[in-house]
Symmetry: C2
Subunit: 544 residues, 2 copies
């Protein structure tokens, strides 16, 4: 179970079209496995075409409501709209976070200085810019202006170039390059200020030692780059993040998404350099994989990095979700196996002696396959624990075999006769299928194949035991020639093996959750084996 | 790539603490792979302890902004707060959706009649109840009241029992049972009205044929049940959804979550009966798996049904994300292999003749292992396409072998000498490792093991070709005794195999995305093989 989750706060506008603002933030938080709380600074009526209306809303009280209750690990601010809102946000945050620049990492604040929408709508009133710089930047771990915002901020303070944004108070400036084209050549011939080193972190750019990827992707070499730049106070290294320029209309909310992803990474304790790399990659893929939505500039695909699980999580209340799902998905077949007429007659004690003898002779052969399948499982394992566990099962089967021999002796059959009885087609089909699955797939697939027999006989044992305990039970113990057989499968030794089997298969599925394709393969193997089990009883009844 | 995504609209309040309202809705939509748009009816300041303030906001203009632009497939309404807002929502929705009860499924509206918060705060003003019933219920595909809301609605219209809620206009009523305890006995002895049949759909309740799960989960039998009830207009079947009652404080936003999940399922074309079953299951697991957040009633875990992908999606721009990641994750080792001194000297034509002879004799042995590994791959496959593909590679290797034999003849080595040369430890280690991986794992794991050789030699061929084409190239073609070898690996036949190999492995990873555990296994195999390749060149240089 989840015992901890990183809580994040966004202080931003609400975008009705869902592509930007707190909506983009919440989707980004979800994709990063973070829990999002929200303070809405302004309601906007907007869609992929433009912004139709904005209504500001005083947020200080709401910030307190969140921060007094929830242990927020990181905060991002987006659209703050007015000077009044900006001041309220800054002064409230100051109460909660440590604004000392050296320890600012404790609850990092990512400040996205949203000024103007992609469609040209003013999202920060002119008199709010000063407030943003004065009040909020000194609290920020990193600010994330794009080119236009950087220019506006510099002009506002008559500063000459982007590095000077650091002098406005933030611990780092992440300058987004989305609006500027840089060629591969310009990138190569970059002028580096004295005393500064460059750290270049390319993404999606094929390097010299990836000739096979360039050749077979059949792509033109990337000409235009987007380059983001990270400068940090007191750090002599400037980090560059070049990547190919994308041609896409799915760019609504790009800045919100980036700053939200950055907040998640910082909240999880990632360094600023790595967090910006991760956030840039996430945003890039969001644009590249976006399906068209709306008539204008559509939203990013925030969900490219997640997939839906096929098997529900293991919980204390429901520790066997995989087995439960297997049984539910094949319920009629499963019942036709574990409540087969052979089992019913065996429980009543009325089962034809010849049927039982035929069954038990074939089961003797089957157990050899079954034991070999466990040996194959051990062969395929590379830790001592599963090897030892397989060896235990093989030993358990050897013991079960002893039961067969003694049973057969009771029914007048010698060991020699057991060994020389020809295998029925049902036995060969099932036995060879186990070996085949073991050869084809990984150990989990083989465990699934082995489970139908292990669990099914456990079910038969428990069911007969339960029915026998009822008043006027149809299951007879006294005088039942098959009593020993029944009680063995309900007994501690066999049920111990069932318990280990359940735990093993469920732990595997929880640690290494199957994709839908992989789950479908498992289910097909399970269903095949349950059917082969049912056919095994059929064979017993028909003496075939 | 995603070419289509289901867009959903929620018309509801904003919950700053993130557990309910549009925040819960957006998280639920994301978990279902749906795209969420939002119309905020009211801003609340709230946390896990209670609601501190509510500000209403007229939403009709915002609804139009969304619905004019985005093709929304389903709509849910939550907290509507005032009569004014309720009327505005209803009359705007009426313009966009088909209110005819028979075709209402086209853009289904799920109406969650939110009246009072868990903490007792009024979320729907008294004069708004009539508006809700009159204006919105007739548009609803399903309404989802809890016990208290149902009572309030019935009292309002002096109706005797829940089925009568259908008379208020919705096509279906889903009555949530979360606030009522039902015992297993009461469930069994349920009074059924004449002419009605019951469809009971239990979840998380172990049935008669699941004795092994009951026994080994070591749980007390469930005593108290929660039972949700679905009644549909014109349908004579009532559907019951019983499940165990959970003891949990993580219940803030349960109703929002359920109605949002229901909207997603309906938007994807699921029937009302199945959609309610799915939504109930999703919500239940959200409560059961929730980590503690906040000081009071915390939010559900909306993300229990998703996991994060390890390998980024395949896109047109980046068709080989798995291989790219493999190379990036082992970049120094990869370079020490594909740009090994052996390769450099070979390109210059200065490689010691004895080294090349030693290498090529060992490579002859290696290719037998490699061919056998492809045979094993075919053995493990169960479609003709991969079997045929493996056969082609085996044939290709047989051709490569011919090259070896003719090469060796040039260097004065006979076929007999090739066959009788003892294998070096480096050859045996690598060859036997391939067979071992093939025996241990599934076909994808074996393909990963085979990729290091296939792709690496392709890389060597292309790199030498590229370097040879440069002015003043260090790679010499003229008079280079190894020219034929170099050109073979850059040639069409070999690069064709590289192309198929890349496509196969990337298609596998895309169709069956690996969990982190599985990816780590693949990467370990890749890294081992790249190292074994490097050691193979080392062996050539050292004549070991």
């Amino acid at each position: 179970m989840l015992t901890k989750v990183t809580a994040v706060l966004t202080v931003a506008g609400s975008d009705s079209s869902g592509g930007a603002g707190i909506q983009a933030d919440l989707r980004t938080f979800a994709a990063h496995g973070c829990y999002g709380t929200t303070v809405v600074t302004a309601l906007t009526a907007q869609n992929t075409i433009g912004v139709q209306a904005v209504h500001g809303s005083p947020p200080d009280f709401v910030i307190r409501s969140v921060l007094d209750d929830i242990d927020v690990r990181t905060i991002k601010t987006g659209m703050l709209f007015s000077a009044e809102i900006t001041q309220a946000v800054a002064s409230t945050l100051r109460e909660y976070i440590d604004a000392d620049v050296d320890t600012r990492g404790r609850v990092p604040v990512v400040c996205d200085p949203v000024c103007v929408s992609t469609s040209g709508h003013v999202l920060l009133q002119p008199d709010a810019v000063d407030m943003l710089i004065q009040e909020l930047f000194p609290l920020a771990c990193v600010i994330t202006p794009n080119q236009a915002e950087a220019e506006l901020l510099l002009k506002h303070r008559s500063l000459p170039c982007p590095q000077h944004l650091l002098s406005l108070g933030p611990a780092a400036v992440f300058l987004k390059g989305g609006h500027v084209n840089v060629s591969q050549e310009e990138m190569r011939e970059l002028q580096i200020p004295e005393g500064i080193t460059l750290d270049i972190r390319p993404a999606f750019l094929l390097e010299e030692h990836m000739e096979i990827l360039s050749k077979h992707a059949k792509m033109a070499r990337v000409a235009d780059l987007v380059v983001d730049v990270l400068c940090q106070r007191g750090v002599k290294t400037i980090t560059l993040y070049p990547r190919p320029r994308l041609q896409s209309n799915s760019t609504h909310g790009t800045g919100c998404t980036l700053s939200a992803a950055l907040a998640c990474a910082l909240g999880n304790g990632t360094s600023v350099e790595d967090a910006t790399a991760q956030a840039t990659l996430y945003t890039y893929l969001g644009i590249e994989t976006a399906p068209p939505i709306g008539k204008g500039y559509g939203p990013l695909n925030h969900l490219h990095s997640i997939s839906r699980l096929v098997v529900q999580p293991r919980t204390d209340g429901h520790p066997y979700p995989l087995t439960h799902k297997f049984i539910q998905s094949t319920v009629d077949l499963w019942k036709s196996y574990v409540q087969h007429d052979f089992v019913v007659q065996l429980g009543k004690g009325t089962l034809d002696r010849a049927s039982f003898i035929h069954f038990i002779k074939q089961d003797y052969h089957y157990l050899k396959y079954y034991s070999r399948a466990y040996a194959l499982l051990a062969t395929k394992s590379h830790d001592f624990a599963p090897i030892s566990s397989a060896a235990k099962v093989m030993q358990h089967i050897a013991d079960e075999k002893t039961m067969h021999v003694s049973y057969c002796a009771q029914f007048g059959i010698t060991l020699e006769e057991l060994e020389t009885t020809p295998e029925s087609p049902a036995t060969m089909a099932y036995g060879a299928f186990l070996i085949d699955v073991g050869l084809q797939g990984d150990t989990t697939k083989l465990l699934v194949a082995l489970a139908a027999c292990l669990l099914g006989y456990g079910e038969v044992g428990l069911w007969l035991e339960k029915e026998a305990a009822k008043p006027d039970a149809w299951v007879k113990r006294e005088g039942n020639p098959y009593r020993e057989w029944m009680e063995d499968y309900a007994g501690e030794a066999y049920q111990g093996a069932v318990s280990v089997g359940l735990e093993t298969i469920e732990a595997r599925a929880a640690a290494d959750p199957p994709s839908p394709v992989r789950y479908a393969e498992w289910l097909a193997v399970w269903e095949r084996c349950v059917r082969l089990e049912k056919q095994f009883w059929d064979m017993g009844m028909n003496l075939s």
